[in-house]
Structures are given as structure tokens and as C-alpha cells.
Symmetry: C2
Subunit: 131 residues, 2 copies
DNA sequence: GCCAACTGCGACCGTTCTAGTCCGAGTTTA
DNA sequence: TAAACTCGGACTAGAACGGTCGCAGTTGGC
């Protein structure tokens, strides 16, 4: 399936909301959740992950919150998806535990990898600012 | 997640195998499964679905089996994915039962739909023959 | 005419992944 | 010192997916 997870969806919406923030200001996760209608305890998680990856900055303590770490035009959809969903190839050959037993003879992996790169290039081409 | 389901994966592999068939010949689902190392009872399902969608032709009875209904160059990856996984937008706003409650105020749906179309265009650009 | 080898189709179950919640700890400001 | 926030892990419920089983219908050969 070519579909974004909810996490990525939430992340995109949240980033978009942070875009219209005055420099120096910050929005708390709870405020964002209420404002955007996102599930309460999911929002801090998504934002924390984005902060960890350097897409947003966080300030702790009272009156703390999140703000964009870079300009909205510098953050691509691809980056958000990669941070929140992890990057895995198009092909469902799981790595690790459930390894594909066809891996030796698989002749479609390379073409699919190429496709995957093209898809990511498309996502790379759209920034938060363009959403 | 931007990942193909196993069904789509199996479908692509199977179609690719059918490509090198003599005209008039047919391969049974079981043969394909053995030959490609696919799970035994999954393969008939995938092929039946493909036949239903007109991507492969089937002949019943003894010595029956499957063959491509069109030339491999005319079948795109996008089509296979659409048939086996169903087409759903990039955005995870499920339709029907679990409708997104943000649907009214959602301002990223349209941009995501555009992205989705671009992604499908990429998949459309690769045919079974190119795999 | 019967049997064997297929497709076709629906029902079913177990596993995996995802979404969402809860809770405790650390940080900052008033 | 208290309030408001981030941070991180652990846990639960539910949906989606992969995979299996069984039966009906069809065809070709003996």
C-alpha cells in the first residue's frame, strides 16, 4: 500500500501549524493537539520524534513548547515521512527477523529499489511550505 | 509507509514469470508457487484476482493455468498494485467506517492527493517488461 | 462415463503492526 | 516550591495482513 501512516499525517499537519508561528514563540503539544483535533497523547510523541531528528526545536519547562528548527521551505515531506515511519524499501522484503527467503533469487528487487528512489524524489520535491 | 504489500510483490513476481511463456501455454498456480518459492495457497488467490481484473487469462480444468492477457509492456506496476492492494489516497483519512474527524478543516488533503497522483505516475511508468 | 487436475470463491484463524493511553522522571519559570 | 511543560518507556486494544482450509465448478484424458 502506498499510504502514509497517521503519525506522518499528524506530523505534517503539526509542522504546517508551527509554520505560522512568530519567531521566538512556541506551541505546546497540548495546544497543538486541541487546535488541530489530534489525539491528545499522540501529539507529544510525534513532536518529540521530530525534535530528536532536528526538524523542530523544543524548549522545556513552563511556557515551553515546539517551533520549527528550519524554515518551512527547507523541510520536505520525504524527510518527515522518513523520520516518523522509518525508511524501508518499496519491496516488502523485511530485514532482520522475517527475512525474505527469496532474497537470493529475487530479480525484482533492484527495479523496485529504483522505483522507490523515484517515489522518494517526488516526496522530496514538496516542502512543508507548499502543503 | 511507502511499501508494497506482499500480495503486490507476489503478483509482480508471478507476472514476470508468466512473461517468458510460449504463446498458448499456461502455468498452473501451483507450478508458479513452487518455481518462485511463494506460499502455496496465496498464489492462486493473487492470480485469481489478477485474472478478474483482466491482467492474466485463466483456463480451467486439467492442464489449465494462467497466462498474460496482454503484452508485458502494457501492464504497469501501478495497475498491479491498484488491483491487489486497492487504490487509496496517500492521506490516511479512511473512508467509510473510520472517517477522519478533521475532514472538514483538513488543509493538507489536496496537496497530498497531488503527491499521490505523482507517485502513481511513477509506478505507471514502469511495466512488467522492465522489471 | 468417470477420475484427476485444475480454477474460483468464500470463510476462517493467527500474527504482526499501528494507534492510542498511561505513568513517572527531568526541566524551567514564576 | 509549585505549576506547566518536555521526554521516554511500557502497556493495551484493535485493525490489517498473511496464510490456510474446504468445497463447488470446469475441463481433458483414460
Amino acid at each position: 500500500m502506498i499510504r502514509l501512516s497517521r503519525k506522518s499525517d499528524y506530523g505534517l499537519v503539526a509542522l504546517k501549524a508551527l509554520r505560522s508561528l512568530q519567531p521566538g514563540d512556541a506551541l505546546s503539544a497540548r495546544e497543538l493537539a486541541v487546535q488541530l483535533g489530534l489525539p491528545g497523547d499522540m501529539t507529544p510523541k510525534v513532536l518529540a520524534r521530530l525534535a530528536q531528528a532536528g526538524l523542530v526545536e523544543s524548549s522545556m519547562g513552563k511556557a515551553g513548547g515546539y517551533r520549527l528548527a528550519r524554515s518551512a521551505g527547507d523541510i520536505s515531506v520525504a524527510e518527515v515521512v522518513r523520520v516518523l515511519d522509518g525508511e524501508s524499501g518499496l519491496a516488502p522484503c523485511r530485514e532482520g527477523i522475517l527475512e525474505c527467503h527469496r532474497i537470493e533469487t529475487c530479480d525484482i528487487k533492484h527495479p523496485l529499489d529504483n522505483l522507490h528512489q523515484e517515489v522518494m524524489r517526488v516526496l522530496q520535491g514538496m516542502s512543508i511550505a507548499q502543503l
